[in-house]
Symmetry: C2
Subunit: 338 residues, 2 copies
């Protein structure tokens, strides 16, 4: 989950200078700088590149606007065959070159012991934004296309998968040590719909990036499709805070790393309470192998940096106490909407 963000005064300063969120994402120097900020401040053992899951849609020819307090808006939503056929299959090394440049800058400045993560939105999540034209709780247009024009929906998903695959490859070539696939919206689907409409493109993504780098899959609200996510073949499964972590590790820990899952809203508590909760989570996990401690979602903008520090420090003490894990590479934390 995104570590950098508006809760950090040093981030706010860069953002003011940049003039906007997208400007910051598209400027490799600024993106590299804010990527490194949480590593400097907290000493986390992995950094996640500062970027946004919607940039590939922009690279595919969709106008994209971020308005303060309104979230992303894509003024030309894709709801018919004509628009979908005009969608360009972007070439990330050209159209998203600034992401590669930011990764190279960060990798060069980062302690070699600290992992650098790249990421991409999952095809279903990108389809949701592309079809709805922004954030939608009800996903009415997505469902209409799924159920009334399943072939057209599949064409769109395939184009999106092409770009997701090449963007993940490009990030690996540019210095990412591991890759995260974020599926923000597929968790809204019942299991059968997930299998039919979200899984095929996601399977292509994991098949066609196999062996490249360790890949983590995170599906928000995806507790009902954990077995199915593991079956896609990721090296890691990231789960949200409502998933029973010890049970998940017992079931899947032999096959994948399991990343999770303190509720990021717990970081609104006083630092000593954050420390207590983090320690309790580690105690519940009880040193089960394959656990990667992280937040179940991005850091909220209202969070006190002291609370993040309490989380990281407690995690580090816990990792030191736990024998099964090396002390490094245990805490990460990124999300696309900062």
């Amino acid at each position: 989950m995104r570590q950098a963000g508006r809760y950090l005064p040093e981030y706010q300063e860069v953002r003011r200078k940049a003039g906007g969120f997208l400007e910051m994402c598209r400027d490799p120097e600024l993106a590299a700088e804010v990527t490194l900020q949480p590593v400097r401040r907290f000493g986390v053992d992995a950094a996640i590149i500062f970027s946004d899951i919607l940039l590939p849609l922009q690279a595919m020819g969709m106008p994209l606007v971020f308005e303060e307090g309104r979230g992303p808006v894509l003024p030309g939503p894709l709801r018919d065959e004509r628009r979908i056929s005009k969608l360009k299959v972007a070439e990330p090394s050209v159209d998203l070159g600034y992401v590669g440049e930011a990764l190279r800058l960060v990798r060069a400045r980062l302690d070699p012991q600290v992992a650098l993560l790249g990421f991409c939105g999952a095809p279903f999540t990108l389809a949701c934004y592309a079809i709805e034209g922004g954030t939608s709780r009800t996903q009415v247009h997505v469902r209409r296309m799924m159920y009334h024009q399943p072939e057209l929906f599949a064409v769109l998903m395939d184009k999106l998968a092409d770009v997701v695959i090449s963007h993940l490859r490009f990030q690996a070539e540019s210095g990412a040590d591991a890759l995260v696939v974020f599926d923000t919206w597929a968790g809204q689907l019942a299991r059968d719909d997930w299998r039919r409409f979200a899984a095929p493109a996601l399977q292509r993504v994991f098949d066609e990036t196999a062996g490249l780098r360790p890949r983590l899959l995170f599906t928000l609200d995806g507790g009902h499709v954990l077995d199915e996510q593991v079956a896609l073949g990721p090296e890691g499964l990231a789960v949200d805070w409502r998933v029973d972590l010890p049970a998940c590790l017992d079931r899947h820990g032999g096959r994948v790393a399991v990343q999770g899952n303190l509720d990021p809203a717990v970081l609104l508590a006083p630092p000593e309470e954050v420390a207590r909760r983090t320690a309790a989570l580690l105690a519940a996990v009880g040193g089960r192998p394959g656990h990667v401690l992280a937040l179940g979602h991005g850091v909220m903008k209202e969070t006190d940096p002291e609370a993040v520090a309490a989380f990281v420090e407690t995690a580090r003490e816990g990792a030191g106490a736990s024998s099964a894990q090396p002390p490094g590479r245990r805490t990460t934390g990124a999300r696309h909407d900062g």
Copy 2:
């Protein structure tokens, strides 16, 4: 889940005459009329009173406004001790008398074979609206109060539970055959937080309405606290479309009725697809006793009434084919935001 709503032209007509959503809720004749509309049109075997979960907050002295396309707004959010201490413990028979009157009108006009459901928001969900002042995805103010002023939060929850309990009693006295408790927001909490912050007031609600009428509990996104919800003692557990229904029935069906769970967004599909999905759901349940077929949430305003008809007809055929269940009282469907 709410059956009446903007997807029905006859509802739109009443709403135009009423001038607004709240006006319709507060006029017993109009509320009764729209409650009866889906029974007339579809022949469902239960009706749910047309009302809103936020009306008890208004009765407790909080200003409440519904703006088209914006959802509910409570302009005086409760974030300090002074405001919470001024909150009035409403007397539903006086302050929500119009709900009782609407129930009496519906009960008098409804076929005695058709069940009439009353409902109330759960204390945690009401607290979310009261503290945030409206719908919030992040619940920042709620979390701050929970974690920084847990005693104050408990005082608020207790006042809300008082009103929830008396409102459920009042609805039973006014003709409701069964009562639904809707918890829209508690499913966002990790299990430990749910136990500590949502469960105590909810336990009071179920303890203090025991034996009154069959009570159903629905927690949106609550798949991670099913055991805990059953332990509170409701007669029925309503689950959303992401819960594995056969597994849930196998685990809990001997203790509670399980209501669920077609995804309401599936009703955006062509009617023949809706029929196919409904039949598939019933086949998966395989006549397990204790199942009540319903939608996993309210009917979306973009839904074609023909799709609802396909759902109800398929359900009725399924109920006729299934030996374990009486043919009536199997399909319901209400939610608070129409």
